[in-house]
């Protein structure tokens, strides 16, 4: 059995993918890690650099919303369901402050 996740790319992530989105098929019971592995496999190093740190953690500057809800920065273990929508956008780093 597989599930299908609709992924939308924005900002630098859209540039790395070269398209606005994909329908990604994953094995049942997949978590976000598997989705990211698939995206890295498709789009290579530029995508990997935007999504993951060298230590394999989700980048703090990358926001991923699953069905409109933000993940915690370390939410790679988030379970995915068939029909889920994943929005991915790379953000500028530090901003506020005096």
């Amino acid at each position: 059995m597989t599930i299908c996740v609709q992924v939308e790319y924005y900002g630098r992530i859209g540039r790395a993918a070269g398209c606005a989105g994909d329908a990604i098929e994953l094995p049942e019971n997949s978590v976000l890690t598997e989705l990211i592995q698939e995206l890295v496999a498709r789009y290579g190093l530029p995508m990997e650099k935007l999504l993951l740190t060298d230590g394999g953690e989700l980048r703090a500057e990358t926001a991923i919303l699953i069905n409109g809800c933000a993940l915690s920065p370390r939410g790679l273990a988030t379970a995915l369901q068939d029909g889920d929508n994943a929005v991915m956008v790379a953000l500028v780093p530090a901003l506020t402050g005096g």
Binding site: E8, Y10, G11, R12, G14, R15, A20, T53, D54, G55, A60, E61, A63, L65, G68, C69, A70, V87, V89, A90, L91, V92, P93, A94, L95, T96, G97, G98
Partner: protein
């Protein structure tokens, strides 16, 4: 409410909005008569200022109606750039301007979006600006301005100590307050109005106020004691006081250190924690059991704070024991030689501070029995603006840690780590992590990843800093040296006159001129905008709609003090925009639509704002700015509190800050670092990366123990004086100087335009009151000033106020008056703190009489 009653008067309305004359975002109402604003007041029931406004707030109508405002788009006709060049401005239409801007940005986005730099200190617009930059695809946003010198040693320290971006003082419950290089409570920084009231009340109640400052500032002038100190040496005083508290007076909060810090963590000869072989957790010595155990399995009272033990055959000591030995070198006599503060004063201050903390005492608030530590040491820009900024900030912060005065009544409090949005958490090694997920800054713990630079700020080389605003010029001027793989093509600039507010005019201008196309949104022409290729007229804050000028989730300054309301406040247009002025964020959103990245901007906006359905912006839809504001309001305040509510009421309260939110320390177990293994390890990682890339970088300050280290000018023996910058309450941003009323206040205050010099020093130099003197750095930068002889200046110092000596202004009356302090600061990587990215504002000048100099 007050504003509503007044609205009943036809053509004679009071309209609520938010002040922008500094970053405190006071709630105000403006009186509009027949379409003309005639008066500004506070709103008595509205936080944070409860009906009171300052001189700046009163004066803003003068800026709104100034004849000097830029009101039409203009394009440069002279291709040569420089402060001495006439740009040859030609007025153009918005249509023409937008076509020019969009064509440029479209090309850049297609080529490499990182080549766009967005530069602004418009704190009220951070969320939409950041959304635009993210959606465009650049990673280069910088605020320039204050971050050069100001928060570098506050925000990262506050993240480590309190779990959030900023700090405040529990003035209502403290009995002893030491201000290091700042004027909290004197209308000069955050909590301008309510802080001033609290400070006045506290002094009347009997709180002792000690101001440690090279200059008898407004705050020092009202303090119980002014402690003049040699600039840049505050850390030595703080560490000397800690030495006395720990090693001589034996006044420290043992329970707090055991329970809430890493003081008990065992440290080996490699300066790293001894760790549990299985879990990797730091070990502590359980004195009752007589062996080492993971920190989170030991009852706090059984964890040793001193002694030596053997773990795995290696001799280890608790972090506090190592720190005690480390600070023992800061004897009062040595501190005196470093700081000029007499040894007896150092001893007395330490004793007073320690005794005032009443260690062991408790207080009951709303049924909660909490530790009561009514003593606090507070710091800001004066301590931050130095070569060893990060160490300076932590040295003073640790004074509070030693006496247990962190996030407890009477102590140093978190601005917004704990609130309706979150609560401090426990991260790796049990250390505190940020409590507020909405904050836009990078926390210090866990350290950020180190890698080859991608941003012009070289953020990737600052694993422990919150930002790196002193650095972009390095990325622009010397990209090859710092391995930045591109050159910026377009710079969008708004509400940050960086040529005036950052160091070294020539270097800043050189960097700006290297960017081929600069767009400046301005209300008044200034030095930075004079270098632009395209000038676009920005609205005054009384002409724009900004949700939220105050958002407690993201705005860190002037957040709710204990018992005060959490509140949201809208800035709304109260008059039609002058001429063809437009709010720059609305312009950028239109640009995003024209160049095809509006869906990306909306997606970033949703993510950065943490919005949820049904308030998410659909990326493929199109919203007006008012529709976006309405959704934003409802997302934060609930489905019934939209734009119309705010237009009518101006602000919305979420209710009082609770005891748990005000004083979270006793409600969580995350620990504060007083030993910094992660500094050492981050330095090691950083060292490996810069070595591989061949980038010249300094690593000395990445050490586990906080230290005093002198700035470069400390060792000069040529009789030159430290030039020190100080603040007056009616002058905050460069826009203040443009205001006729505030300029008049400056004229009437005899200490604003001249430079202060101690009479004894003046006599030695042959300088008399009112003499014209020359200030000259050893690298050839010079300026003239009028001497103002006064006792309230450290003998080794000349003191100047604010950002003056302006060259290009809308109002000619301010031009050239006073001293441009920042232009006498050298922009040189050697002057930078390679941990916090602060630029050292410690500068020495040779002072001579003008006639003699000629």
């Amino acid at each position: 409410m007050e504003a509503l009653k007044m609205q009943a008067l036809e053509k004679n309305e009071w309209i609520p909005t938010v002040c922008s004359m500094c970053y405190n975002n006071c709630t105000i109402q403006v009186h509009r008569v027949d379409g003309v604003l005639t008066k500004v007041t506070g709103v008595s029931e509205a936080p944070p200022n409860h009906g009171v406004i300052c001189a700046k707030g009163n004066a803003q109508i003068e800026s709104l109606y100034s004849p000097n405002r830029v009101k039409r788009p203009m394009v440069r006709t002279n291709p040569r750039k420089g402060l001495g060049e006439d740009p040859g401005w030609r007025e153009i239409s918005w249509t023409e301007a937008m076509e020019m801007l969009c064509a440029r940005l479209k090309r850049v986005r297609e080529d490499d979006p990182r080549k766009l730099v967005v530069l602004s200190f418009d704190g009220q617009s951070y969320l939409p600006i950041r959304s635009f930059a993210s959606g465009f695809g650049t990673n280069n946003y910088t605020a320039g301005s204050a971050g050069y010198f100001c928060g570098n040693a506050i925000h990262p320290v506050s993240y480590s100590i309190n779990g959030c971006i900023d700090i405040q003082i529990d003035l209502d419950r403290t009995d002893y307050c030491m201000l290091f290089g700042c004027q909290y409570g004197f209308v000069a920084m955050s909590h301008a109005i309510v802080g001033a009231r609290q400070m006045a009340d506290a002094r009347e109640r009997g709180m002792k106020l000690v101001s440690v400052d090279p200059v008898l500032s407004n705050a020092a002038g009202k303090a119980d004691e002014w402690v003049p100190i040699r600039p840049g040496t505050d850390a030595a005083l703080a560490l000397g006081m800690i030495h006395l508290l720990l090693n001589e007076l034996k006044i420290y909060d043992r329970d707090f250190l055991q329970r809430y810090t890493n003081a008990t963590y065992l440290v080996g000869p490699d300066e790293c924690y001894a760790r549990d072989a299985g879990s990797g957790k730091p070990l502590v010595w359980n004195a009752k059991l007589g062996h080492a155990v993971p920190f989170d399995t030991c009852p706090p009272e059984e964890a040793a704070l001193d002694g030596t033990c053997t773990v795995g055959g290696v001799a280890c000591r608790p972090a506090l024991a190592i720190f005690r030995d480390h600070v023992s070198k800061y004897t009062p006599e040595r501190v005196e030689s470093i700081t000029t503060v007499p040894a007896a004063t150092v001893r007395r201050l330490a004793k007073e501070f320690g005794q005032a903390a009443c260690i062991g005492s408790t207080i009951t608030i709303d049924g909660h029995v909490l530790p009561h530590r009514p003593a606090v040491a507070f710091w800001y820009r004066g301590v931050s603006q130095h070569k060893h900024s990060m160490h300076n900030g932590f040295a003073i912060a640790l004074l509070n840690v030693m006496i247990g005065a962190v996030d407890v009544p009477g102590g140093l409090l978190n601005a917004n780590a704990a609130g309706p949005f979150g609560f401090p958490g426990e991260g790796p090694d049990g250390l505190i992590t940020r409590g507020n997920p909405y904050s836009h800054m990078r926390p210090q713990w866990p350290p950020q990843e180190v890698k080859a630079p991608e941003t012009l700020e070289l953020l990737e080389l600052f694993p422990l800093s919150v930002y790196a605003r002193a650095v972009p010029w390095l990325g622009i001027l010397e990209p090859e040296k710092y391995k930045v793989p591109y050159h910026p093509e377009v710079l969008i600039h708004c509400r940050a006159n960086i040529v005036a507010t950052t160091a070294d005019v020539e270097k800043t201008v050189e960097a700006l001129c290297k960017v081929p196309f600069q767009v400046s949104f301005v209300d008044f022409m200034n030095e930075t905008a004079s270098l632009a290729d395209l000038v676009l007229p920005d609205t005054h804050s009384l002409e724009r709609l900004v949700p939220f000028a105050t958002d407690p989730f993201t705005t860190f300054y002037a957040t709710a003090l204990p018992g005060e309301d959490w509140w949201f406040a809208f800035q709304q247009p109260v008059v039609k925009p002058a001429g063809e002025t437009r709010y720059w964020v609305e312009v950028l959103f239109e640009v995003a639509e024209r160049i095809g990245c509006l869906p990306d901007v909306y997606a970033a906006f949703n993510a950065l704002g943490h919005f949820k359905e049904p308030f998410l912006l659909a990326p493929r839809e199109k919203y007006t700015w008012e529709q976006i504001c309405d959704r934003w309001a409802r997302a934060r305040c609930g489905p019934d509190i939209g734009l119309d509510y705010f237009k009518q009421h101006g602000f919305y309260s979420l209710g009082k800050r609770t005891v748990k939110e005000s004083y979270p320390r006793a409600f969580h177990s995350a620990r504060i670092p007083m030993y910094f293994e992660h500094f050492k390890k981050a330095g090691e990682r950083l060292g490996a990366v810069v070595k591989e890339l061949g980038i010249p970088w300094e690593l000395d300050d990445y050490q586990a123990l906080i230290d005093f280290k002198p700035c470069h000018p400390y060792h000069k023996t040529d009789g030159s004086l430290y030039l020190v910058n100080t603040k007056v309450p009616f002058y905050t941003h460069t826009i203040s100087a443009e205001n006729p009323l505030l300029n008049d206040l400056c004229e009437r205050n005899t200490h604003v335009f001249p430079v202060g010099i101690n009479p004894k020093t003046a006599r030695r130099l042959g300088v008399q009151q009112g003499d014209t003197i020359v200030l000259e750095t050893d690298w050839g930068r010079r300026t003239e000033a009028t001497a103002d002889l006064r006792e309230g200046v450290h003998p080794e110092v000349v003191a100047c106020v604010g950002v003056l000596g302006r060259r290009i202004t809308g109002d000619l009356r301010i031009r050239g008056k006073g001293v441009h302090f920042n232009n006498l600061i050298k922009f040189d990587p050697k002057m930078m703190d390679f941990v916090s990215a602060a630029l050292d504002a410690c500068t020495r000048v040779k002072v001579t009489k003008a006639a003699a100099a000629r």
